[in-house]
């Protein structure tokens, strides 16, 4: 092996080009890591708070709550099935109605869709983390509403004490702000289920039924009962499964986009590293010849130069990761195609993002350094004698 | 040519009380100490001296590549110590030709194009440029190597191209910085013969720094510099 100081010093000698190369790799790594953290952020914010023992009963063909519809008569039927947790002799569970309202964005052009959930007191029992952090819980049966922390202030009317109109002369007043442990509900407006029904002309039913199972393991038995009744045309999903499906489209989109973009970007960084290493080798032909003459093997030279490239790209990778981490406090608002609504989330640092970005930066070093390193290893000891 | 005659012709280079100091690592080093020098027009002079004697510094001052700490320098009628960098650069383009030890030809240009290079600094048609460069190459005896790149030429030939480049502007003064330092004896002799010819036939004032006593012998005047003072 060549003493590592030799290659480290050579980086220092060519520090301007080395810094340029490191910066290029840092940019690529930051983009990739940010994309993966974005995807993780979507997953996290959508699926956070999913409970194994909560079942969601929805229309068989529906992929999301918005598409689903459950008749009022079916709600009672579902809740009367065995296998549900009981409280005071009644099952814990109830219907929820999910609709979208178009609201004007604040600080950006145009309007966007926001989910509004009609809920009952049962819904609150199914979400133990939900708590009102400002204002008060809306009084049942009134035109009061509360807004999730995530979209608070992002749309016209969504501030405490303000109001949004859902039908003529019946505005919903925002009386509370709630948090739900960072779940997707924080991107929703919540109002009494009967209020929402009336406002949206959906008296006949709800979107889905949520219910707590007696035990998490009981879901298969419960599903078998519900899905056996073809007249109902309903299906049962556990809350974590349902939520995972809700984020799948968007997080997959972000992941794939991230990879494609980073792949193209990394070509630039690899070429940058190759240019730098190529010059490093060309400039040191005589030195390398001397090393060979002193008895260092071809593979020692090859490894030495690969190391030199790797030191640069791994440094760049580390800087890129730090840059992506610095972004993780920013909140991003994006439309989730699964709900047709804005989802507000933050970049979530995930082990996958770190590992993938790390592998990427090592890969860029290996690819960028390989050809120059091979060239270096082929330099003849005779080169030492030439001027 | 006697000293009397040349004085009547006038001075190509006139240096009065020149001091040159360098500051390195907080210490001031006086390389030239109140130096006076008169080089008459049409003189061919060799400047000798041990390493560190200040001969290269003196040459750089004459070529306008560097400025004195104090004192007067007049070359080809111009007061270099009073001129700005840009003025000196333009002046150099018209009035001096420099021949370096390591030739310093541009590797991407042919012999002819290397000679043409300084002419780019003057308003001239490309045909005229080419013609003048050809003449200069003929003078140095390389008319058969015009299309060759520097790497295809021997060291002596490269230096002759460099000389052609130095004279193509028809400067009054030619400055040589160890012009034969990298050459073998035969090539060195050819270069020195060329210098003699330029001095004799074209009346160029030539001043060259050299280590080589044989080269110095070919000059009409030999000056020795020691510790910043002319002997």
């Amino acid at each position: 092996m060549i003493p590592y100081q030799y290659n480290l010093r050579s980086i220092w000698v060519r520090r301007v080009t080395a810094i340029i190369t490191v910066l290029g790799v840092a940019l690529v790594t930051a983009v990739l890591a940010a994309a993966l953290m974005l995807a993780a952020g979507v997953k996290k914010s959508v699926s956070v708070g999913g409970q194994d023992d909560v079942a969601i009963i929805m229309r068989a063909g529906a992929t999301g709550e918005l598409e689903s519809g459950v008749d009022e008569s079916a709600v009672g039927l579902v809740l009367s099935q065995p296998g549900l947790a009981q409280e005071n002799g009644k099952p814990i569970g109830g219907g929820e109605l999910l609709v979208v309202v178009a609201l004007d964005k604040l600080g950006a052009m145009g309007f966007s869709n926001v989910n509004m959930r009609g809920y009952s007191d049962q819904s609150l029992k199914l979400r133990p983390n939900l708590k009102v952090v400002e204002g008060a819980l809306p009084k049942p049966g009134t035109d009061e509403a509360m807004v999730g922390r995530g979209i608070l202030g992002r749309f016209k009317g969504l501030t405490l004490g303000d109001q949004i109109s859902v039908r003529k002369n019946r505005p919903l007043r925002i009386v509370g702000v709630f948090e739900d442990g960072g779940s997707g509900a924080e991107s929703e407006i919540w109002a009494d289920v009967n209020t929402v029904r009336a406002a949206f002309g959906r008296q006949g039913g709800v979107s889905v039924v949520r219910a707590r199972l007696a035990s998490a393991g009981g879901i298969e038995a419960f599903r078998a009962v519900i899905e056996a009744d073809k007249r109902l045309g309903l299906k049962v999903k556990s809350e974590p499964d349902f939520l995972a499906a809700q984020s799948e489209g968007l997080s997959k989109f972000l992941t794939i986009m991230g990879f494609i973009v980073s792949l193209f970007f990394s070509l630039g960084a690899i070429i940058g590293a190759t240019i730098t290493m190529h010059a490093a080798v060309a400039h040191r032909t005589r030195e390398i010849g001397t090393l060979r003459a002193l008895g260092f093997s071809r593979s020692a030279i090859l490894l030495g130069f690969l190391m030199e490239a790797l030191v640069m790209t791994i440094t760049g990778g580390a800087i890129g990761l730090l840059a992506a981490l610095a972004l993780s406090t920013t909140k991003i608002s994006m439309m989730n195609p699964a709900t047709w609504s804005e989802l507000v989330f933050a970049l979530a640092p995930s082990p996958q993002a770190f590992i993938t970005a790390g592998i990427f930066s090592v890969g860029m070093g290996l690819l960028g350094g390989f050809l120059p390193a091979v060239r270096a290893s082929r330099i003849s000891p005779l080169a030492a004698l030439r001027s | 040519m006697s000293a009397e005659q040349s004085k009547s012709v006038g001075s190509a280079i006139s240096i009065k009380g020149v001091v040159k100091e360098f500051t390195r690592g907080g210490q001031t080093l006086r390389v030239l100490n109140s130096l006076d020098l008169e080089v008459p027009e049409g003189s061919f002079e060799a400047l000798m001296g041990p390493s560190g004697s200040g001969k290269s510094t003196l040459l750089n001052l004459i070529a306008g590549l560097d400025k004195p700490t104090s004192g007067e320098i007049t070359v080809a009628g111009a007061r270099l110590d009073r001129m700005s960098d840009a003025e000196i650069t333009s002046w150099r383009a018209a009035n001096v030709g420099i021949v370096f030890q390591s030739y310093n030809l541009l590797p991407v240009l042919t012999a002819l194009e290397n000679v043409e290079l300084p002419l780019l600094l003057h308003k001239m048609t490309s045909a005229e440029r080419k013609k003048r460069a050809q003449i200069a190459l003929e003078i140095v005896g390389l008319s058969d190597r015009m299309g060759h790149y520097p790497r295809m030429l021997s060291g002596g030939q490269e230096q002759r191209v460099a000389i052609a480049r130095a004279i193509v502007n028809d400067p009054k003064v030619i400055i040589g910085d160890e012009p034969t330092g990298d050459l073998d004896r035969n090539s060195a002799d050819e270069i020195l013969k060329l210098f003699e010819q330029l001095n004799r036939e074209l009346g160029k004032t030539i001043i060259m720094v050299t280590h080589d006593p044989e080269a110095a012998e070919r000059a009409t005047v030999i000056r020795r510099l020691n510790k910043g003072v002319l002997a």
């Binding site: 309202v101 190529h278 | 780019l120």
Partner: protein, 399 residues
């Protein structure tokens, strides 16, 4: 020989580096063009929208529908002078149909009033005999030619679709359609992958409470120049009704949709700037390296009498030329990969997102201009270094 000529020769001096730099610039520009085109094509789609085509929908949300009689009211709307404001109007419903055979392929299924729909969407072209069949077949459907090719559907095929919105037909039967025609379009405003069927067939089959409801009303104003006033007039017409409306011209409607994807567009824009930064780094690296290797040459040129300005411009010429040398293959590559290959692929497979995915001349110009300017900037630091070069020290270094 002249100075630009010298710059060109300096470029060719290190062929390996030149090739790498050109490849780097080309790939970076390809990425830039792809990202810009993605952003622009969404913007571009707006240009195909019609100012005089108005869309009227429920004021609060797109999931709620309107009474069918609103469509008549819109059609009959008159101005203060008693002249009609609307020259054509139709009504449509989003059916949300899915083909069980193509579970994972999304396509739009829309119930449209067959009597009026082509008067509003006159870019849709259906052969006369097929149009006749559509008018005569109650469960008839006309399908975009691209969608038909994709699913291998032919005229005469019977298709059963499921709708999570409407469930089964009222009588418990599935929704079965007969494909009676294929449509093409004369404008990119209408995609070629939609499944249109007759509104009356849908109205027959839905439950009582959903009958005679329309998802949205599309109309054409008599005078495109006064579309804004007509828009206001329509909404004013229903201002006192229980259900109020929101009417937008097609361009504004599209802009509203853009609002929903604005964060994706913003991210793509940022990315296109990042790739330009990477491009700048590649160029800066290559040029500063080349210049450093030639320090003594610049020193001797200075000694000969070349001014700092001349040398700096020599270097700037070189760096700009390298950038251009990469920009040209970059543009050719972009044309082949983005415009020809990717454009066809996306317009065919992802028409809902990218109705048009073609590189605009403007984007090529932007790419070349960006590369040139970045090339110029990449040369600034090396050019300044050479301009400030100390001749004496650097000539010494050689010897």
């Amino acid at each position: 020989m002249n100075l630009p000529g010298l710059a060109v020769r300096n470029i060719y001096r290190n062929p390996v580096r030149l090739a790498l730099t050109v490849a780097g610039v080309a790939v970076a520009l390809l990425t830039f063009v792809t990202l810009r085109t993605a952003v622009m094509s969404w913007d571009e789609a707006k240009n195909y929208t019609l100012k005089d085509r108005l869309v009227t929908r429920h004021k609060i949300t797109f999931v709620m529908d309107l009474p069918k009689n609103y469509a008549d009211d819109v059609r009959d709307l008159k101005g203060a002078d008693g002249k009609p404001l609307i020259r054509a109007s139709t009504f449509l419903n989003w059916f949300g149909g899915k083909d069980p055979a193509h579970e994972n392929d999304f396509f739009a299924t829309i119930a449209a009033d067959h009597n009026t729909f082509l008067t509003v969407y006159d870019e849709i072209k259906i052969p006369d005999d097929q149009l006749k069949a559509f008018n005569e077949t109650r469960n008839g459907a006309v399908v975009g030619d691209l969608l038909a090719t994709k699913f291998n559907w032919k005229v005469g095929d019977n298709i059963t679709l499921e709708s999570p919105i409407y469930g089964l037909r009222e009588n418990g039967e599935p929704w079965t359609f007969k494909i009676v025609g294929l449509y093409s379009t004369t404008s990119k405003a209408v995609d070629r992958q939609t499944f249109y069927f007759r509104w009356d067939y849908m109205n027959d089959g839905v439950r009582a409470e959903a009958k005679d409801r329309v998802g949205w009303i599309a109309s054409r104003s008599v005078d495109a120049a006064h579309a804004a006033e007509v828009t206001a007039a329509i909404d004013k017409r229903f201002d006192d009704a229980d259900t109020q409306t929101l009417t937008q011209d097609e361009a504004s409607f599209f802009q509203g949709f853009m609002g929903m994807v604005s964060s994706v567009l913003a991210i793509m824009s940022y990315l296109s700037y990042i790739i330009l930064a990477i491009l700048g780094l590649i160029l800066a690296n290559a040029i500063s390296m080349s210049v450093r290797e030639r320090t003594n040459e610049y020193a001797s040129m200075k000694a000969i009498g070349f001014h700092a300005k001349t040398l700096a411009s020599l270097i700037l010429t070189e760096s700009t030329l390298i950038a251009l040398a990469g920009a040209i293959p970059g543009v050719i590559l972009s044309y082949l990969i983005v415009d020809v290959a990717l454009g066809d692929f996306l317009e065919y497979n992802l028409a809902n997102f990218f109705p048009v995915f073609r590189v605009k001349i403007w984007t090529y110009a932007e790419a070349v201009a960006a590369a040139t300017v970045i090339g110029l900037f990449a040369g600034i630091v090396p050019a300044l270094t050479v301009a400030r070069l100390n001749v004496v020290e650097n000539l010494r270094r050689v010897a």
